[in-house]
Amino acid sequence: MKSEHVEAVWLTEDARFSLAELAELAGIPEAEVRELVEYGAVLPVDPDAPAWIFDGRCLLTMRTAGRLRVGFDLEPHGVALIVSLLERIQALESQMGSLRAQLPERR
C-alpha cells in the first residue's frame, strides 16, 4: 500500500490561529467561540487586539469544548465551566507527575 509523508505542526504556544480558523477547526460557531472567550475558557494572545489570534493550546481546548458541546448538548456557559475544570485537573495531574518523577523509586 502507498504511504504518504506528511508535514505536522506542534500545537503549542507557538502555533497561531485566527478566530475564524479556531471556530472552523473546533466545529463551534464563531459567536459561541466569542462567548467562550468571554467566560474565560480560552484567552486570545492579545485580548485587546482588534482581531483575536489564538495559540495552539487554545485549539486543543476549543476542540474539547466542541466535543463536549455536541456530546452533552451543552450551552457555552456549561462548556466553559467544564473546560476550565478539566484544565485544572490536567494541570494538577501534570504537577503530580512532576513530583512523582522527583521521588526515588523503591527497589
Binding site: 500500500m1 502507498k2 504511504s3 504518504e4 509523508h5 506528511v6 508535514e7 505536522a8 505542526v9 506542534w10 500545537l11 503549542t12 507557538d14 502555533a15 472552523e24 477547526l25 466545529g27 495552539g56 485549539l59 486543543l60 476542540r63 474539547t64 466535543r67 463536549l68 456530546g71 452533552f72 467544564i82 478539566l86 501534570s94 507527575g97 512532576s98 512523582r100 518523577a101 522527583q102 526515588p104 523509586e105 527497589r107
Partner: protein, 314 residues
C-alpha cells in the same frame, strides 16, 4: 454489511420514545465520553453510543434504520431492495459499507441548503495516539500510522479504505503534546473542507529515567563511602554515558544537576537531567566489610538523630 443493534447499544426497547433515547444516551455519555471518562475503552464505547444516538434521535434516520429489520449484532445482512440505494445501479453492493457511514451519507444527500443545493459538510477529524520511546523523543523519529478511513466511491457511498501516513515527530516531543496534520482527516463533502488528523504523542515509561516536562530524573545509588568521600561515577543519559563528580558529604535525596542532558526543547534549548542521590547498603555485607563498619561504629561520633533530643519536646 454488518448489522449493529442501535437499540441494544443504548439499552432501550425498539418502541422507546425520543425522551427515553435522549435520557439513555446522556447516561452513557457521562460514563464513556472520552473527555470525562477514565475508562480506557471509553472512547471506543462512546463512538458506538454516539453513532446509535445520532441515528435514532433523528426521526427520518430512525425510520430508515427500522426498515432494515431486526438482526443479531454483527450479523451480515443486506438492506431491503431499493433501501436508500443509488438509483439505477443494479450492480451496487453494500458488502463492505459501514452502517454508520450509510446514515452519515443519508443526511449529506437528503438535507440540502436553500434551493436544493447540497449542504457543505466538513470531513471528519481523526485523533490517533502514537506511543514513542524516550530515546525516540530525544532524537526525533518517524511513525507510521495505519488508519481505516471512510472515502466516497463513484456512487457516492462511503467505504472504509486503509491509508498509511508516515509522520515525522521532531525531536523534543513532550508527553501529551499534539501534532496537527492539516487536511489529513476525512474528505469534506459538497465543497466542505477536509478534516484534520491530530496525533497525540505518548511517551513510554523508561526503566531508568522519569520525566517532568523536558527534565529527566534518575536515581543515583551511592555506597555509603562514596557519599562520604565523594566519587566520580558513570551515569547513563539519553545521549550516552557521562562521568559525574559526586561531591563529598552528599546526602540521600540530594539532586545533582546535569545541565542540558534532558529532552531537547523548542528554540535549541534542552531540559536538565537530575541525578537523585540514594545511599544504599549491600544486601549482605561480607566479613571484611562488617569488620570495617564495626570499627567505624566504634570510632565515629556522628549521631544522625541528634535533633530528636531538642525537637521532640517543642
Amino acid at each position: 454489511m454488518k448489522y449493529k443493534d442501535y437499540y441494544s447499544i443504548l439499552g432501550i426497547e425498539r418502541g422507546a420514545t425520543a425522551e427515553d433515547i435522549k435520557k439513555s444516551y446522556r447516561k452513557l455519555a457521562h460514563k464513556y465520553h472520552p473527555d470525562v471518562s477514565k475508562d480506557p475503552k471509553g472512547e471506543e464505547k462512546f463512538k458506538e453510543v454516539a453513532e446509535a444516538y445520532n441515528t435514532l434521535k433523528d426521526p427520518e434516520k430512525r425510520v430508515a434504520y427500522d426498515q432494515l429489520g431486526s438482526h443479531r449484532s454483527g450479523e451480515d445482512f443486506q438492506p431491503p431492495p431499493n433501501w436508500n440505494r443509488p438509483s439505477g445501479d443494479a450492480q451496487f453492493s453494500f458488502d463492505d459499507a459501514d452502517l454508520a457511514d450509510l446514515f452519515a451519507g443519508l443526511s449529506g444527500r437528503q438535507r440540502g441548503g436553500p434551493g436544493g443545493t447540497p449542504m457543505r459538510m466538513p470531513g471528519e477529524d481523526y485523533e490517533v495516539t502514537a506511543q514513542i520511546s524516550l530515546a525516540d523523543a530525544y532524537a526525533g523519529t518517524e511513525v507510521e500510522l495505519n488508519l481505516t478511513v471512510p472515502e466516497r466511491d463513484k456512487q457516492g457511498i462511503v467505504r472504509r479504505v486503509p491509508r498509511v501516513f508516515k509522520v515525522r515527530i521532531p525531536k523534543g516531543a513532550k508527553d501529551g503534546q499534539r501534532l496537527r496534520l492539516a487536511g489529513r482527516g476525512g474528505k469534506g463533502m459538497n465543497g466542505g473542507r477536509d478534516g484534520d488528523l491530530y496525533l497525540n504523542v505518548a511517551l513510554l515509561a523508561h526503566p531508568l529515567f522519569r520525566l517532568s516536562g523536558h527534565d529527566l530524573y534518575i536515581d543515583l545509588p551511592l555506597a555509603p563511602w562514596e557519599a562520604v568521600l565523594g566519587a566520580t561515577v558513570e551515569v547513563p543519559t539519553l545521549g550516552g554515558t557521562v562521568r559525574l563528580k559526586v561531591p563529598p558529604n552528599t546526602h540521600a535525596g540530594q539532586q545533582l544537576r546535569l545541565t542540558g542532558r534532558g529532552l531537547p526543547a523548542p528554540g535549541g534549548k534542552a531540559g536538565d537531567l537530575f541525578a537523585l542521590a540514594q545511599i544504599v547498603v549491600p544486601a549482605a555485607a561480607g566479613e571484611k566489610e562488617r569488620e570495617l563498619f564495626k570499627q567505624l561504629a566504634q570510632d565515629s561520633t556522628f549521631n544522625p538523630r541528634e535533633h530528636f533530643k531538642s525537637e521532640a519536646t517543642t
